[in-house]
């Protein structure tokens, strides 16, 4: 069709009323590994799947790639271009710090993410810029309670009860939807196990023989944002596997490409050192084909 005439500038609409560059930016999120956010009355947790490169120093002094603390009451988990994620993290941290200096209190979580959405929107409407190629799940706790927010490259900010983004996240979303009603009353451990089970559900039936590398972070009432240590992550992973039922076909009825072997997500996306190869993108947006 005439797609190619409208896909080069983010400032040009297609005849169907779509912004192709924004949709391509959304595809970048699907290049990242899956990450899940869910909340109860007292806690909000972020679980991220790591696919570590054996040559990389992946987890040193508690730092890892996917989950970043913003303030003592807010943290985010990202999927997509890591360099863009770092830039956004820096902006959010700076915002929270300024707010703390001016008002000596914590930035309300909803406002932080609404304002982030406003900032990201300008990248979708400016000639010489591009949208941020990273999807963000934010978890926070403030006076209004626990929050999970999803921010996408389209600058949409969604207040979520639970959410999963990244490669093959549809399976995780189905799991979350199925168990949604039980989250409000979950204990901290149960909540984390649900999150890990959601990630396992996204793997389909190809869960590797070696254990998954799961990163967990939690924030809540009287609980400052904290990414758990390697030992704790392993402990929760074992707990989730033990408590959860073995994955059956019903857990991933909507996951597509389940016959493909689970390939490592493009290392370029995680490191952000090169651009994305756009040549194989589908004509219609978001048909669920994940990489």
């Amino acid at each position: 069709m005439f797609r190619s005439a409208y896909e080069n500038d983010v400032t040009v609409f297609s005849p169907q009323g779509r912004l192709h560059q924004v949709e391509y930016a959304m595809e970048a999120v699907k290049l990242g590994t899956v990450t899940v956010g869910l909340k109860s009355e007292e806690y909000a947790v972020l679980i991220a799947l790591n696919r570590p490169d054996p040559l990389m120093v992946d987890s040193e002094n508690g730092q890892q790639r996917k989950i970043m603390a913003i303030d003592s009451h807010i943290g985010i988990s990202t999927a997509g271009l890591m360099a863009d994620a770092r830039r956004i993290t820096k902006h959010l941290r700076s915002d929270c710090l300024s707010y703390n200096t001016a008002y000596q209190s914590s930035y309300p979580v909803a406002r932080l993410f609404q304002n982030l959405g406003i900032k990201l929107q300008s990248g979708t409407q400016t000639y010489d810029r591009r949208p941020y190629g990273v999807g963000i799940l934010g978890a926070g706790y403030d006076d209004q309670g626990t929050h999970i927010f999803q921010v996408m490259p389209s600058a949409n900010v969604l207040n979520c009860k639970a959410m999963a983004i990244g490669a093959r996240s549809q399976g995780a979303r189905s799991y979350l939807e199925r168990h949604l009603k039980s989250f409000a009353d979950c204990t901290k451990d149960q909540l984390i196990c649900h999150g890990i089970q959601a990630i396992r559900a996204s793997m389909g039936s190809e869960e590797p023989a070696t254990d998954l590398h799961i990163n967990v972070a939690i924030v809540g009432k009287n609980t400052p944002f904290r990414a758990l240590s390697d030992a704790e992550n392993q402990q929760y992973y074992v707990m989730a596997k033990a408590s959860g039922a073995p994955l059956t076909a019903t857990d991933n009825i909507e996951a597509t490409d389940s016959t493909d072997p689970p390939e490592p997500s493009s290392p370029n996306a995680e490191e952000g050192t090169e651009g994305i190869d756009n040549n194989d993108l589908p004509d219609t947006p978001s048909d669920g084909a994940n990489r």
Binding site: T101, A102, Y103, Q104, S105, P108, A110, R111, Q114, D143, Q144
Partner: protein, 269 residues
């Protein structure tokens, strides 16, 4: 070039080479360098107070805070505006009493009103808390004083913080802030503060009745002794109504119960 061996200056009434120069007609825009040498230009700036409000007194009690101020704005020693409310309800959590230059009070109130409107525009039921407002004011006032362009105000900010805790603070023109169970500005600092501190029970907060009685007594003392106080005053009340809402109003005007019968005992009356 050299007359009688004395070096003549290159020019008069102009910049001295190597010195900072205040160009005439430019208002001092807060440049720190310009503040440190003598002003050799035509621009002058008055930092004196013109129309002033006198004392403000705030008392914290178990369920909230009371802030009282008389309704007088003076013009030097003239009691110019006698019916001015100097206590403001900021939002459902905060009341503020303003002393010092009243034009500056009105100016900062405009900024605060803009902040409250921004809060409302978010439409997320998050209203500012007194500690946040007090901290913000401290930053603003300190910044202004550091630029040698102060707002000549002394304010008392009080209200209900998170967890339904009462909060009371005093911020002055230099950006000095502190929080306590009793704070005051102006003459009340000398006359009312010791009075309230003496009455404070050691092991508990004031009750609303005790705090109200103390306000009444202090306003009376201030009227008798501070020549720039009047006998009419208003009181802002911000107290916890239930776990989700507060009762926040400015009440009054009240009258000091003046007793002048002792005048007959004064020789020369």
């Amino acid at each position: 070039m050299f007359n009688n061996g004395i070096v003549q200056p290159l020019w008069y009434n102009g910049p001295s080479p190597g010195q900072f120069y205040n160009f005439p007609g430019y208002a001092n825009n807060g440049n720190m360098k310009q503040c440190h040498e003598t002003n050799n230009s035509d621009s002058t700036r008055s930092t004196a107070m013109i129309t002033t409000g006198s004392s403000v007194l705030g008392i914290k009690f178990d369920q909230g805070v009371l802030i009282a101020a008389d309704t007088l704005v003076s013009y030097g020693s003239l009691s110019r505006f006698q019916n001015i409310d100097r206590i403001f309800k900021i939002n459902d959590n905060i009341i503020m009493g303003g002393g010092g230059d009243f034009a500056d009070i009105q100016s900062i109130m405009r900024s605060i009103d803009q902040k409250m409107i921004e809060d409302q525009c978010y439409a997320d039921n998050i209203a500012m808390r007194p500690k946040a407002l007090a901290t913000w004011m401290t930053r603003v006032l300190y910044n202004r004083r550091s630029r040698m362009n102060p707002l000549f105000i002394d304010v008392v900010i009080g209200g209900i913080d998170e967890n339904n805790e009462p909060y009371l603070a005093n911020v002055d023109l230099r950006g000095r802030a502190f929080s306590d169970y009793v704070v005051s500005t102006g003459f009340a600092r000398h006359l009312a503060l010791p009075l309230v501190r003496e009455k404070k029970p050691a092991d508990r907060d004031f009750t609303l009745e005790e705090a109200s009685e103390l306000i009444r007594q202090c306003m009376e003392v201030l009227y008798y002794r501070d020549t720039k106080n009047s006998s009419q005053y208003t009181v802002g009340v911000c107290k916890v109504k239930d776990s989700t809402s507060n009762q926040c109003d400015v009440e009054g005007p009240f009258q000091v119960d003046e007793k002048w019968s002792f005048a007959k005992m004064v020789k020369g009356y």
